[in-house]
Symmetry: C2
Subunit: 331 residues, 2 copies
Amino acid sequence: MTNLTRRNLLAGTAGATVAAVLRFDTSVKAATPPAGRQAPGWYRYKIGTIEITVATDGVARFKMAEDHVTNIKLDAVNAALAEVFMEKDMMTTPYNPIAVNTGSKLAVIDTGTGDSNYKKSGGVGGQFVTNLSAAGIDRTAVDTVIISHYHGDHINGLLMDDNSLSYPKAEILVPAIEHTFWMDDGEMGRASPGRMQSNFKNVRRVFNLEVMKRVKTYEWDKEVLPGVIAQGTPGHTPGHTSFVIASGGNSVYVQSDVTHVPFLFARHPDWHAFYDQDGAKAEATRRKVYDMLVVEKLRVQGFHYPFPSLAHIEKYGTGYREIPVIWNPTI
Amino acid sequence: MTNLTRRNLLAGTAGATVAAVLRFDTSVKAATPPAGRQAPGWYRYKIGTIEITVATDGVARFKMAEDHVTNIKLDAVNAALAEVFMEKDMMTTPYNPIAVNTGSKLAVIDTGTGDSNYKKSGGVGGQFVTNLSAAGIDRTAVDTVIISHYHGDHINGLLMDDNSLSYPKAEILVPAIEHTFWMDDGEMGRASPGRMQSNFKNVRRVFNLEVMKRVKTYEWDKEVLPGVIAQGTPGHTPGHTSFVIASGGNSVYVQSDVTHVPFLFARHPDWHAFYDQDGAKAEATRRKVYDMLVVEKLRVQGFHYPFPSLAHIEKYGTGYREIPVIWNPTI
């Protein structure tokens, strides 16, 4: 076997160099031009008789602020990014809502960054309804929307670019505690400027619309759908909710934002993301949930996990690490 | 937060139990029936100007033989499977060939288990040409097929169920050393009965066909395509070949079967898979390649990696571990 360093390979250890051939490339074109498009990002699995479809809304990529992790220096965050071969100072955040067909109900849980973000992001985000459609689920057929919490990447997809409803026939179910908090003028008055104020404004932009009169609140520890139990996992927001989907002796834990991206916040449950409204409470919830996932060997479906966002959890160092479930070519 | 054990959740901690609701389920059906189909498994990325499309051929699932790993007891293999939450005694083997569009050539590297396996496996395998087509690549447009080695899951897809060529317009490029070995009657005569004999027979079933007169051999350490260098990585078979794809200062290592499934054989490079013809040589190659992948931080595209089979490699315990690349919603 010849020397395997990339330097040698790029230089061309034998025969024509890559560079020489790439010059050749510019004059001769394949009969088939490059396709230039990505696969529609969706993936399907069953929990007993319940069919779950993950459809990616895409990602956001941005330069991190110094306080992206509020209780940790950016240097440590960069070291964690380097461990998973990700670029320094840059954050890639996947958004992965799901559709749940229980047999009697066709629901979506969370809605992504919204149709309006498709153009805004140059097509990198705002893909949810498009990918749902590729998966054979028309947004007009959805009869229930369940919201986990009131951050923009979970609620903005309730609306199309023209402010019409993305799921025009659907009941919209929201966590009672979450709704009360964000719609309370006293809470808004006491909120700090910046991110918290703009969250309040965004919530009201969406939920004060006339078409949102259909919103109904749900309580924790009850079924929001047949086989889908809402579980309070507060800290990230006051009414932040996760879901257990169970059928036929099988189950999956839909964690919503118990962790943000796992490669930072499952590995380091003590790190408080900028997005965690109450960092200490979010951390306590995170540890409790992740200890449960480990003990119960329960799969987790994570909104900010890389698509298709389905994984088992192992203990790892002082935290946890995800083991992605192997892509199943059938369902 | 209420008690998070799965037992409590399945029993229904509050309100209706899951079981009760599932009874309800049988009488009321959603307007939208379950879709019941999986996403076509394909994924695309660029290396400089070269477009790579991973299209899964599917998987095989089977009960492992005692000697699936020839130098390790099945108990240890089962312990490794448990670590990644996989079923005892059962093997899941993904098959993931790729298409490479260099701008001047549209090639596939390896061909999967073949069209005839689609029916045989109940649609779990033999998906490659179907998923390629979903990705916008018609098999009749492919102008080059490159074979890494002569095991059935890499060559059987050269043929459709009726023994016609899967890629009727394509030149077929095969590793010179590999071709010489498997087509040598002396080697076949000396081969042990069982797996080796049936491999010889399968190679001849395919390559003795009249339509295979088009086969051309390629040499190691040369470009088989613009930007694609063939590199000898023997041990798995005598002529086993990997590929470096490089363009625009970017590159990926197409490892073929340097490891079989990474959750066993990257983590345990000293384990010799039943499929490794020369276990010691395969191990030496594996260590050399994986040390290079770590040092060069080079991404690996692995035929038997879980779809989409693209990962970075870190050192882990006494071996290595894959870190899947985050699904990119655009290319």
